[in-house]
């Protein structure tokens, strides 16, 4: 059997490794635009901050691919997939497949506005991006978009000694992860680090001769030499669309719970797909390393004729700001719009948390100041444990002695510290 994998990211590599686990004979060929081995995008902000060297972000060497018997066609864009003939075109060659795995990932968006092509505009996605930013020697940087990548990049540049501005269009930072109150707490923490945060502002353009000199928003002009775009990503689905695969309403490739696309023999996983949310069951984009890997496991297993099911997306995002851990799990009030949500909240000097419950089930959790017990909350969200059941178990010595993991969540689900 011959499996072709498009993509050398988290999803592509996990799929390859998983196929190897199931079969030592299966032929695996991997395609990627870039010509370097797998790296972890999640470590890039740490490199930018200077905490770790750049080469540490690479997870594989070319030797590792050889050892796993993965044939690599790196630096080759796949131009076309012919699903009827079961073949794809890369360069001027054709490759036939028995199974195809699309792990084409996503790309940061640079909006087409005035000045966004000037020297000094950057994104954070590949190790080269980081090298380019460092070579540029930024001193005053504006980060557009305060999602988790924006916030991490802002802290990283601040750590390099830059003057850093963070611009967010919505009324709070990390609007898809946190509700207003915890977002404000985190914003205060960022401001204590001397990052200048502006929310509710829309970027209208970048000004400068050849270089970025100023960033224009609907409310002010900021003098700067660097603009970093972290205002969202676009799924790489052009190839899938051209091939005739169904693309969903959120812009991701449509897959079923076996990670199978709308055409037989084709699987997809990673940032490029949309899959049901573990809580709502509605289509969602996950855009996380862990989901990419889990989806790739499922795709690879089913591709080899083994049964595996994807349980659904559930986001977990951790940020450490000035050594204080902040975590958002599952949905926030924005994501739960339309549901009747109960909020269990606690605030003290060094800990803030809120637990969102719908119909007796935990749907989301946000916490600033501690990671203790969050694993247990995450487990409850994934599993859909009713709060009432957890409370009952926690009141019963017999059950708690064998169900230790519930214990950790007690202070959160009783709303007491």
């Amino acid at each position: 059997m011959r499996v072709l994998i498009i993509g050398n990211g988290a999803a592509g590599n996990q799929a390859a490794a998983c196929i190897r686990k199931h079969s030592s004979e299966c032929e695996i060929v991997m395609f990627a635009r870039e010509s370097f081995p797998e790296y972890s995008a999640c470590a890039l902000p740490d490199v930018l901050a200077g905490w770790i060297p750049l080469d540490k972000t690479f997870l594989k060497t070319s030797l590792d691919y050889e050892q796993l018997q993965i044939k690599t066609c790196f630096g080759q864009e796949v131009n076309n997939v012919d699903i009827n003939k079961q073949c794809l075109e890369a360069g001027d060659k054709k490759y036939y497949y028995d199974r195809l795995i699309m792990a084409t990932g996503s790309q940061p968006i640079i909006p087409k506005i005035d000045g966004s092509q000037l020297n000094g505009n950057f994104v954070v996605k590949t190790p080269q991006d980081i090298e380019r930013i460092i070579d540029h020697k930024p001193t005053r940087a504006v980060i557009v978009g305060a999602g988790n990548i924006g916030v991490e990049t802002a802290s990283a540049l601040r750590n390099r000694g830059c003057i850093v501005y963070l611009i967010e269009m919505q009324d709070r930072i990390m609007p898809l992860l946190y509700d207003k109150k915890p977002a404000d707490i985190i914003q205060t923490m960022l401001e204590q680090e001397d990052i200048r945060v502006f929310t509710g502002e829309r970027v209208t353009g970048v000004a400068g001769e050849q270089q970025v000199e100023r960033l224009l928003t609907d409310q002010q002009e900021i003098e700067c030499d660097t603009v970093i775009w972290a205002a969202g990503v676009r799924q790489n689905v052009e190839l899938a669309r051209k091939a005739g695969l169904k693309i969903g309403g959120l812009g991701g490739i449509e897959v079923n719970k076996y990670m199978q696309c709308s055409e037989p023999g084709v699987f997809a996983c990673g940032d490029c797909v949309q899959s049901p949310h573990v809580y709502t069951g509605k289509p969602s984009l996950s855009l996380l390393w862990s989901s990419a890997k889990r989806q790739a496991d499922v795709a690879a297993a089913n591709c080899m004729g083994k049964l595996d099911e994807y349980e659904g997306n559930c986001s977990v995002v951790i940020e450490e700001i000035m050594g204080i851990p902040c975590v958002a799990i599952g949905l926030n009030l924005h994501g739960l719009a339309g549901y009747e949500t109960e909020v269990i909240e606690h605030e003290s000097e060094d800990l803030y948390y809120r637990l969102l419950a719908v119909d007796d089930r935990v749907a989301g959790f946000q916490c600033v100041g501690s990671l203790e017990g969050t694993g247990s909350i995450f487990t409850m969200i994934k599993k859909g444990t009713p709060l009432s059941e957890a409370r009952k178990l926690l009141h019963n010595k017999g059950s708690i002695s064998t169900m230790a993991w519930y214990m950790d969540s007690s202070r959160y689900i009783f709303g007491e510290y």
Binding site: E309, E311, T379, K382, K383, T385, S399, T402, M403
Partner: protein, 155 residues
């Protein structure tokens, strides 16, 4: 849950037929260690007790499983493990009060009685009738009848 595996341990001779059949049906091998139903022997008491899943109303194994792999079907009452979701942490093995939920190291997942999808093979092959798959009311009815006859005879 209208029917259940009813164990009359006084009839059990400890022959292990049920264990052989169970492991053969589920794992393609005759190995008591991989059988869902297990016969515990108490030689000093001359007794054998086959232990199988009790299909508890609020099963500890379901509560404790962190991946949601074990579920209790509200309609049929069955308690089933979905091996695809099992992460192999063995919490259910530690939680089951009867030592029924068990772990297969070769597969890396937990297993328990699944009633063979509705026709339990252990019952089918138990030649002493120590195992019966009957509605609760009927099993109890038979027991009651035996007790009643005892009372009648002694009076």
């Amino acid at each position: 849950m209208d029917k259940l595996i009813f164990v009359d341990y006084q009839k059990c001779v400890g022959c292990a037929t049920c264990e052989m059949v169970c492991s053969l049906v589920h794992e393609d091998i005759c190995s008591p260690a991989l059988s869902r139903i297990r016969v515990v022997r108490y030689p000093t008491e001359a007794s054998n007790v086959p232990i199988t899943c009790a299909f508890c109303e609020s099963p500890p194994c379901v509560s404790v499983c962190p991946s949601g792999a074990i579920t209790k079907n509200a309609d049929s009452g069955d308690v089933l493990i979905n091996p695809v979701l099992c992460i192999g942490c063995r919490q259910c093995v530690q939680a089951c009060p009867f030592g029924h939920a068990n772990f297969n190291f070769a597969r890396g997942t937990a297993f328990k009685c699944d009633l063979c999808g509705g026709s339990p093979q252990c019952v089918e092959f138990c030649w002493t009738e120590a195992l019966q798959y009957v509605p609760l009311e009927r099993a109890l009815g038979e027991k009651r009848e035996a007790v009643g006859r005892n009372i009648l005879q002694s009076s």
